[in-house]
Symmetry: C2
Subunit: 365 residues, 2 copies
């Protein structure tokens, strides 16, 4: 991959252009009269009852909400006056979120016994997958999807090295049903100043497994899913996609590299291509699951990446994809059992979902 | 409280009538041709990647979904042919859920290194707060609300003593916005065969606090909220309602008894009355928050109760109420940060929500 082209937005935010072979980004000046950024625009608060950090980002209450297509802030803005991307066109861009939950440099405060809060340091970036306002990730050409993977990898490497960042999280929320406020195909990248609760729980389980069994928990899970076979959705020489044995969501697929790595940075060239391919394959199945009557499946995609440091050494890179659609007409809501107690109840068996996804056919051929 | 009147539904499920002073339940025979219950209708699966149990209850996919008002299964059915409650009327009833996530008696299987699953043993009950199809909890008369509290207390004592039940969870989901499929005012009571992940996390924090400081974490949190004052919503001699310092939800209120108890069973008569009063006060504020333009606030109410056993000794009974409504026109969705990483981002400051709720006025006089 060639290095991205760096530009600056009018209020000083970073903007990076990632280009397909033969393309050359041509940013223009961002001439919008943007207000100065508030360096203390969000807060971290520690919840002593659960031991978890909560981000309070009141500025997000006023973030851009379902604009009409001709005012989309993620489309190219050739005049430098209309959108977040001052350029006649682009392939993939990444820029700092104008309404960030986390921003600036700094770590966590020490925990006292009283109320502990701190400025919400960290990083929130937006990644636009394509300049095509009406597309979806699943419709990207393989080389374009690979460019997105390269951009994720670039941001992962850079943010993992940033001071105060403990965890880099690349993700996509897709669909109004899960609250997406901008239709243009895009994802987000968070640099949290703490290990998120779910990641901490996973690393704890993996550590205990290694102490007990001497091997890697996630490698063991993957091997058992492959041996069982009943929940496999797609499998190549390099990657495996399956519905996990204890899936929490009505549609849930995990994608693992067949080789243990901590994050995208550790994948080699073939694996990066292979990852783009199987990811497109799974998203294609999602898009076809309820089409054309209901439209594409709303989903969340979560890249679980780990730093190559002792505390995260047992972390195995994988993607967890999940949807709240439980039938053509019904959504799964996270009500009190899930929301208040973290106790998940699924209405479908993982085996039936895997069968359904297999039957939809893939592109790996 | 007088003992409830016990009846049986056509398929053998328990049905209990709780009556106001001077009322006498008059159940009739349930004459519906209900299918025999499947004793193995759900499954527990252990997620080794997080150390958490997941309930797979495929039968719930076909549960009653937004029936028209004249087919409401929670209204009284004087003929014994039309609803779940074969009686001309009732005050408060509790019955076993026809589409339970958990049923039958039994505990958890031992954890192996492979895929661990087991029948979904435990208990799922429905509690109807009133026979009035169009009411809400906040509109109940104080004596009626106290009867609901008595019913919760009765079920808590009975289910906590049931073999295999580790945690009793009384809760209410209210509003279509959070997926409620039956409009009739009702709640649910779960008897889980395991400690839920959030409860386990709370007990862990409380244990660590006690080892470090010698006192109770939750009592300390309550004392600090009272001393700070900025987030108090309502307070009586016996109870305190406040927005917690690190609230996760756009509207979140916790109600604590001022005296440390583990659960409803340990409250005395005055406290039971006081609990019903402050609970009505807070729900009344919720109902008025966006009325009349938007209608009553969708909410989840979660009673955090603990058993008086060593493993749960640090648990302090309290209620956590939360709503996903973040403005008159917008909902908070649990997207990837919350759903995949358990990392919550709130769009409003707890202090502003507390102020708003205080301004709405209360009923405590």
């Amino acid at each position: 991959m060639t290095a991205p082209t760096l530009a600056k937005l009018a209020d000083g935010r970073d903007l990076l252009f990632f280009a397909l072979a033969g393309h050359r980004p041509a940013p223009v000046a961002d001439r919008r009269p943007l207000p100065k950024r508030d360096p203390d625009q969000s807060q971290l608060r520690f919840d002593r009852s659960t031991g978890q950090w909560v981000i309070v980002a009141a500025l997000r209450q006023d973030r851009t909400y379902k604009p009409p297509p001709d005012q989309c802030p993620l489309c190219p803005g050739p005049t430098g006056l209309t959108t977040e991307i001052p350029a006649p066109d682009y392939d993939v861009v990444v820029f700092e979120n104008r309404f960030p939950s986390l921003s600036g440099i700094g770590g966590l405060p020490p925990l006292g016994d009283g109320f502990t809060s701190a400025p919400g340091r960290g990083r929130c970036e937006v990644i636009c997958f394509s300049s095509d306002h009406t597309g979806s990730f699943a419709e990207l050409a393989p080389a374009h999807a690979r460019l997105v993977v390269d951009a994720w990898r670039h941001r992962t490497a850079e943010l993992m090295a940033a001071p105060g960042v403990e965890q880099v999280f690349c993700f996509e929320n897709r669909g109004e049903e899960i609250g997406v406020t901008l239709a243009h195909p895009h994802g987000q990248i968070y640099g949290y100043p703490y290990l998120t609760p779910r990641t901490a729980a996973m690393l704890q389980q993996a550590r205990e497994h290694r102490m007990r069994n001497g091997d890697n928990l996630f490698a063991d899970l993957l091997a058992r899913e492959v041996a069982d076979g009943g929940r496999i959705v797609a499998r190549t020489e390099l990657f495996t996609a399956f519905v996990p044995f204890a899936a929490r969501w009505p549609v849930e697929v995990h994608i693992y590299p067949n080789r243990f790595v901590h994050n995208l940075v550790e994948l080699d060239e073939d694996e990066l291509d292979g990852f783009a391919r199987i990811y497109l394959d799974v998203l294609g199945r999602f898009d076809r699951m309820y089409a054309p009557a209901i439209g594409p499946l709303p989903y969340m995609s979560a890249l679980h990446q780990f730093a190559d440091i002792d505390a995260q050494a047992d972390g195995y890179f994988h993607v967890e994809l999940m949807s709240i659609r439980r039938s053509a007409t019904k959504l799964k809501y996270l009500a009190a059992s899930e929301s208040a107690m973290d106790a998940f109840i699924s209405d479908v068996t993982p085996e039936s979902v895997a069968q359904r996804l297999r039957d939809l056919g893939g592109q790996l051929g």
